[in-house]
Symmetry: C2
Subunit: 342 residues, 2 copies
Amino acid sequence: MAKLARVDPSVVSRIINDDTALLIKDETRKRVLEAIKELNYRPNANARSLRKRKTMMLGMVIPDFLNPVYGEIIRGAELQASTEGYHLMVCSINKDSKCNYLSLLREGRIDGLMVASSEFEDSSISELEKENMPFILVNRLTLSMHDYVIADDTYGAKLAVNHLIDLGHTQIGHLSGPLFTGTGTERFQGYRAALKESGIDFFPSYLHETGYTVESGYEGMMKLLELPDPPTAVFAANVLSSIGAIQAIKVKGLTVPDDISVVGVHDVFFASMIDPALTTVKMPLFEMGIEAVKSLIKKLNGEQTGVSVRIPGAELIVRKSTSVPPTKSIGGYYERTGKASK
Amino acid sequence: MAKLARVDPSVVSRIINDDTALLIKDETRKRVLEAIKELNYRPNANARSLRKRKTMMLGMVIPDFLNPVYGEIIRGAELQASTEGYHLMVCSINKDSKCNYLSLLREGRIDGLMVASSEFEDSSISELEKENMPFILVNRLTLSMHDYVIADDTYGAKLAVNHLIDLGHTQIGHLSGPLFTGTGTERFQGYRAALKESGIDFFPSYLHETGYTVESGYEGMMKLLELPDPPTAVFAANVLSSIGAIQAIKVKGLTVPDDISVVGVHDVFFASMIDPALTTVKMPLFEMGIEAVKSLIKKLNGEQTGVSVRIPGAELIVRKSTSVPPTKSIGGYYERTGKASK
DNA sequence: CTGTTAGCGCTTTCAC
DNA sequence: GTGAAAGCGCTAACAG
């Protein structure tokens, strides 16, 4: 122990926590500091957490470490956490590894939890709520309102759909996210709003509810392609589903964007590398991670009761997967009338 | 407390840790179990860790959460950790957020550390070693031998290069990883060995040392393309650098694979989605995560002293970025002689 | 300015 | 079979 500096442990404690209330003789402080350096002493975090009832650890639940959307959020969260002197513990929740986030909280391993998984069931959330656990939702909502940090998904969706409309599309499909999720419904609402503002009717069979995965995007797009008069453009609520959509279009022997244009949400780093380079809406994911940590810490400190943040700043990144609509219908049934018809 | 079950805390402890040495009356056990259920009681992890000098937490250091290679490793590690009753704490180490892995260990927040970052300096590792900290290297090596879990990178590289040779290439460039890393040197050695086995001379200017990033792959490829007689095929030591290489080739107005073939290492989920779909060597990353946790736990339990594992099973995944060499040299200087020349 | 004391919530040894 | 007591390493209140 640093008691080899010939002082009481409490003095060491005061120095380490630089307790400004009590003054410590320079000579003593120096002696202790030297002993600390020599022994590479670091106070035991468990003892400290036990005493202070605070671990300085934050938890975050995501669906999958391979999903680049969450990678970006984690980056922001990790940065902000370390800035504020906290550690971050991320775990994914899926069938295999059942990260027991609730135990993490109950056992006092973490001070607060960020729920950033859309796969996370509402029932689990109400359990957190029932036990009055300190948590915050990230990039998602629930029916029962909670503290949350989200982006402006409605605006982002409008950006995407207006881009398609500006190119001349009027037959615009939507591969929505799960419509029981906040991001899914908001993006869907943005889609409808954009159509309405341009006087384009909403056509229910052009809507397909999918998950945020490549597979479900593929399947959803297949359904749209089987329509007698398929859309000339598709707004996919996610990058992964947009990639699945492109695969489906290729499999059907059609070309993106010549036959069908595709826009996705989330400008992940490989969006520019796929074929064709994907037009996307860039959402402020990094900022979301930062804000999530800020808000959670505020909540922990009781500085704020309802910490609900909506981060502005979605941005359209135009690449090669969108272009003007083809002049003839895909099925060859009739000539397109184009934007002039509206 | 569960002492509302009218028993001593020590009894609760025995029941929770199902201490088989001491038998407990069925009636008491039932009463305690009911109280636990009712209160949703979970023992405080900090108190427990303090007492037992064990946290059941494992740490892992990676360079970046956006790098899908590590995502795969984390997945495996998380699964195995939860299987063995441990929690996993991953943090990335970069200029911004300086996850202090050493403090994590010294403060007793984690029982052991997995170092899976090639960016992690050797000096930091010797510091870990000097303080006799329980750690293990994952997917990397150092000069001073340590416990490690790696894949067969030499074999993986041979797989890639032999594929190119089989297609008829003799002018094969290599965008190596950093040659001070184990993966970098092993893949380079596999490249040389494959060339040698086919009687192809190693041509030093065809070797370019790059980092494991898109940018460095781009730059390295540009250098190769500026050669008077550039290679007809390139083996990139990483997915990201292979993507950078493809970008460079496109920028120069050339086509993959018609003008130049490209093989990369690591079959990440978007390898099939880029343009052209990437031929890769799939390394056993998920298994690496699993083995890393197994080995670290063995080391912690003192079951094994030198835990060094090499995981077999690299696999070639052929897609669209490789084909037979062009019949004419790119620069147009002379006719290719092909494999027959050797 | 520094030492003494008590206690955070648990586990373990010993006593009954 | 269960309770009592001590102590893990720290911090906070109080004494001196």
